[in-house]
């Protein structure tokens, strides 16, 4: 028997069985004994203009679902569906409702299916949703620049400092960087887990988290091999680039969150919050330059590193502001967490090669803890 046959035979058998099952199998019996399982998820409610709501809904359940009626704040309301009222599995619709929503107040939209089940979505604070125009593109870009780009570049300015300090203190800052990154990684993971709860069932939010969290380090490790490093050893610049990438992915998620909260009116971006982000994210720049303490990187490399870490915030803010999706947000945060895990591992190896006394030397332990404390303390400023 040829090898390909041995490999394919089980798959062919599976296909035959599935076909038989669908045609004549006991599906009918199953259908009879269970009520229809309907599952709709309201992904986003936009308020594009006064007196109008736009509800984006996805069918994440196993069966087709028909949206029969719409209620807003416990009142039936006329509406328009962009397509058939019946959503097949994984299909999306946008429902437009001419509802006189009230600025600054919460609203609830409930979709009534043909079987009478209701699926609802919330508008926490009603305010006009941003439209994709020059004004909001600029707004979100600035938001990203303030929260991500500027702080990272300011942080990079610590390079002359870390180069000047003694080896012991460089170790201190390296362990501080690890502390920062562990904090950011856990933060990204928690965000991913939280957002995954909002992902429609069929898209399996928690599996996405796992995919991003484990897949990213594995891919990065494979890439390291492929690039010819013996046993995956990396140069300090490569480590710095990895750190920048990890932070960049984290900042992409952070940008998403900021953009979304701003668009849905959940945060008013006051001076206080912007300052908070500035302080919080500046330390990220320090993290990038510390591995370069005994290097002489070119200015161009530094700018690229800063851009890699900071610019994703702008992109995230755009995506989050205009088309928030729990699915992508979950995936981005999970990838960010995975990337940071890789970075921490790489730093650990770098550390093992060079550090005096290892991570458990009192000064290094202090650095690690101090890194986390800095993130915690500055995080207090940005928890909106």
């Amino acid at each position: 028997m040829p090898l390909w046959f041995k490999g394919l035979a089980p798959l062919v058998l599976l296909a035959v069985l599935v076909t038989l099952f669908l045609r004549v199998g006991p599906v009918g019996v199953f259908r009879q004994s269970f009520p229809p399982v309907e599952q709709l998820t309201v992904e986003r409610i936009r308020l594009p203009e006064h007196g109008v709501m736009e509800v984006r809904v996805v069918n994440g359940g196993p069966e087709a679902v028909t949206v029969a009626q719409v209620m807003v704040d416990d009142a039936n309301w006329v509406h328009r569906v962009n397509g058939s009222r019946t959503l097949e599995r994984l299909e999306r619709r946008t429902i437009t409702i001419p509802y006189p929503w009230v600025e600054g107040e919460p609203h609830t939209v409930a979709l009534v299916t043909s079987t009478g089940l209701t699926f609802s979505g919330e508008v926490p604070v009603a305010t006009l949703s941003p439209a994709v125009d020059a004004r909001y593109l600029t707004t979100f870009a600035l938001l990203g620049v303030y929260a991500g780009v500027i702080p990272v570049f300011i942080g990079l300015l610590w390079l002359p400092f870390v180069r000047a300090v003694s080896r012991r203190w460089i170790d201190f800052f390296l362990s501080l960087t690890m502390g920062l990154l562990v904090f950011l990684g856990v933060d990204a993971l928690v965000e991913a887990a939280e957002t995954s709860a909002l992902v429609a069932g069929a898209f399996q939010g928690s599996s996405l988290v796992l995919l991003g969290l484990l897949g990213t380090p594995l891919i990065l490790a494979a890439l390291g091999h492929w690039r010819g490093g013996q046993r995956g050893e990396r140069t300090p610049l490569q480590v710095a680039a990895l750190i920048a990438l990890g932070i960049g992915l984290h900042n992409l998620g952070e940008g998403l969150a900021i953009g979304t909260s701003y668009a849905t009116g959940e945060i008013a971006l006051g001076t206080f919050l912007v300052i908070g982000f500035l302080l919080h994210n500046t330390t990220e720049g320090l993290g990038i330059v510390t591995p370069l303490a005994d290097q002489r990187p070119r200015l161009r490399s530094l700018i690229l590193l800063g851009a890699l870490a900071g610019v994703p915030t702008v992109i995230g803010a755009w995506i989050g502001g205009f088309t928030y999706s729990p699915l992508w947000t979950t995936l981005f945060f999970a990838i960010g967490a995975g990337a940071i895990a890789t970075v921490v591992y790489e730093l650990w190896r770098l550390f093992a090669r060079r550090a005096t006394g290892g991570l458990t030397a009192p000064l290094n332990v202090a650095g690690f803890i101090f890194g986390m404390v800095i993130m915690y303390a500055t995080g207090l400023l940005v928890t909106a």
């Binding site: 109008v52 029969a68 416990d74 039936n76 009534v112 079987t115 089940l117 209701t118």
Partner: protein, 344 residues
């Protein structure tokens, strides 16, 4: 379900309906249309951009499936039974009520797995005159035990509370109709809450021997449906279908005496109420007395309470009637009396 028409805003119906009537009668749109000449009404499927919503926006969309229960027909349909006389000379009215499970449409496209009398919710309105002998044959073709509990005066064994009728079995309720008034009947099998909420109820009218003054009569059973089974109603209505009488207004004549038999069977909520616009009604609580109880425009009723309302419209045009619990009104319990000029 690729009915493109239903996917656009469905506001045109009532408007067209009302325009036609306005053009027919001497009502004239200046008077009749003024209430309805609300902004936004004309631009049915056009851009929905507006800050001022109207009563035509707060509405269900679409139509019932063809062949569904028609609340407009139910409104004025009274089942007086098969009439004969007993040897004693007493009038005998025979009815048959069959309990059966049926999926009913409580709002366009929203289906509810109901338990019904004769396949409809509410069950048929039973009407007789005080002193008649009633013989109601009850056949249970449903999936659970059921019964019929009539309000009124009757022997213990005819009460329906202690004699659940198993599925596939039947029972004959026989008693004299007393006292005159507006009563109701419903299933009294436990758990009662579910048996009532699922749809086993109807109006039961016993006319006084001398009758009531001639009037245009209608029955309104205030009910609600907990479609997602969370212990709260998602749909409220009179006679089951949300917003039915707002989409298909009830036509009455200016100066004509209107009599509404209102029964409240709403489950889960402590109270329901009835309110009319542009008018007041004479209230006869339970209809057991021919002197009016009150002259008002709102009556609140507990579950099981009923009232006979009489009124005459002075002015032509559309007038709303609805629960004065705004939430109920917004979830379907509201309608329109379209008062037309009298025939000359």
């Amino acid at each position: 379900m690729a009915r493109k028409k239903d996917e656009i805003l469905d506001r045109s119906l009532t408007r067209r309906d009302l325009l036609r009537v306005g053009a027919l009668g001497t009502v004239g749109l200046a008077a009749g249309g003024s209430v309805l000449a609300l902004p936004g009404l004309g631009q049915s499927s056009a851009g929905p951009a507006q800050d001022h919503a109207t009563h035509h926006d707060m509405m269900t969309v679409g139509k019932l499936a063809p062949g569904s229960f028609d609340p407009s027909a139910f409104l004025t349909h009274f089942d007086t039974g098969k009439v004969s006389r007993l040897p004693s000379g007493q009038v005998l009215r025979e009815f048959e009520l069959v309990a059966e499970d049926r999926e009913i449409e409580v709002a366009p496209g929203v289906f509810f797995p109901a338990w019904t009398y004769n396949g409809q919710v509410p069950g048929p309105t039973i009407r007789c005159t005080e002193g008649d002998r009633l013989r109601v044959r009850f056949v249970n073709k449903g999936s659970h035990s059921h019964s019929i509990h009539f309000h009124g005066i009757h022997p213990s064994g005819m009460d329906g509370a202690f004699e659940p009728v198993r599925r596939g079995e039947s029972f004959v309720y026989e008693f004299d109709a007393e006292p005159f008034g507006l009563h109701l009947y419903h299933c009294h099998t436990v758990p009662i809450k579910r048996h009532i909420h699922k749809g086993l109820y109807g109006a039961f009218i016993i006319d006084p021997k001398q009758g009531r003054p001639p009037a245009r009569e209608m029955v309104m059973v205030m009910n609600g449906f907990d479609t997602n089974l969370d212990g709260e109603n998602e749909v409220y209505a009179v006679n089951t279908v949300a917003f039915h009488y707002q989409k298909y207004p009830i036509r009455v004549r200016q100066g004509e005496l209107v009599r509404v038999y209102v029964v409240n069977v709403t489950e889960f909520d402590l109270l329901n109420s009835f309110h009319i616009h542009g008018n007041l009604f004479r209230l006869y609580r339970t209809g057991t007395d021919l002197t009016r109880y009150e002259w008002t425009d709102v009556v609140a009723m507990c579950q099981g309470e009923r009232a006979v309302l009489e009124f005459t419209y002075k002015h032509p045009g559309p007038f709303m009637f609805h629960a004065h619990q705004s939430e109920f009104a917004e979830l379907g319990w509201s309608g329109i009396f379209l008062v037309e000029a009298p025939l000359v």
